[in-house]
């Protein structure tokens, strides 16, 4: 099996993470923001896997499972919040929910 450099894996994770980040920053639609967060979480998980593969240890995969669990919980709560928001404000505009500004 031909070896893949660690850097390549990490750069892929980093790039995906940055793309997710850009998306969070530019989107106003709150569902898109949620999707972007998923991308970022996934990228972070990927980085763990790369690191785990680097050392040949299962810990990276364990971490991925934890992240996965968290992502699942986050999505379910996040979607519930989106539903509420949409019912309350009749919009998916994340900026509309700014009543907590100082």
């Amino acid at each position: 099996m031909k070896a893949i450099p660690v850097e390549a894996g990490l750069i892929l994770a980093g790039t995906l993470f940055m793309l997710g980040l850009i998306s969070v920053l530019i989107r106003r639609n709150i569902i898109f923001m949620l999707i972007s967060v998923e991308i970022m979480l996934n990228a972070a998980g990927l980085a763990f896997i790369v690191a785990g593969a680097r050392w040949g240890q299962p810990d990276g995969q364990v971490m991925f499972i934890f992240i996965l669990t968290m992502a699942a919980a986050e999505v379910s709560v996040g979607l519930a919040l989106i539903l509420q928001l949409y019912h309350q404000l009749q919009t998916l505009d994340g900026d509309a929910a700014n009543k907590m500004k100082g």
Binding site: E7, G20, L25, K99
Partner: protein
């Protein structure tokens, strides 16, 4: 194998770019599935077949389906796309892109500054992961259980369709 990795990586990046530039939410989600699948391949290549499977099942399957359900529940139509088109202009990209580029450059610099190490470890099978999970990480598993539990309760509570004011600041908006 190596080639597979690079191709899958390229597809993952490209499809993610497509995700973040779509106006239509369903299109974006389709691209997202592609991205997840590509990443699953990457994971497989990196010697984590079990995780690759989880990626496909939970990310590409469960999570995306959940989002699509919500989109259907909210009954979003063409006007959402129009709205998205008006929100997502070209210039809004500039500043976040610059910031992210800087960050990425720094990360890449940090990653590449060390000596090059090849990933040639054999794949770690699911039993090793399982041993680890229920061995040293058992506390984490318990905590995940609690998290999921509270996630379910929270989602149920928040998702109830009763017209209920969840926060005093929203009172005015409701009226």
């Amino acid at each position: 194998m190596e080639l597979t990795f690079y191709v899958a990586s390229a597809i993952a990046i490209l499809s993610t770019i497509m995700v973040i530039t779509r106006y239509n939410m369903v299109h974006a989600l389709i691209y997202l599935i592609i991205s997840f699948l590509a990443i699953a391949i990457v994971l497989f290549v990196l010697g984590a077949p079990f995780i690759a499977a989880l990626e496909v099942i939970i990310y590409a399957g469960a999570i995306v389906v959940l989002i699509i359900f919500v989109i259907m529940m909210l009954n979003l139509r063409e006007e959402t796309v129009q709205q998205e088109r008006s929100w997502l202009t070209k210039d809004i990209f500039i500043f976040p892109a610059i910031l992210s580029a800087i960050l990425l450059a720094e990360v890449i610099y940090i990653i590449t500054s060390g000596e090059q190490i090849m990933l040639d470890q054999p794949s770690i099978d699911s039993s090793a992961v399982g041993m680890s999970l229920y061995g040293p990480y058992v506390i984490g598993v318990e905590l995940c259980g609690i998290l999921l539990m509270s996630g379910i309760v929270g989602a149920y509570h928040l998702g109830r369709q009763k017209k209920k004011i969840v926060h005093r600041f929203l009172e005015h908006a409701e009226q």
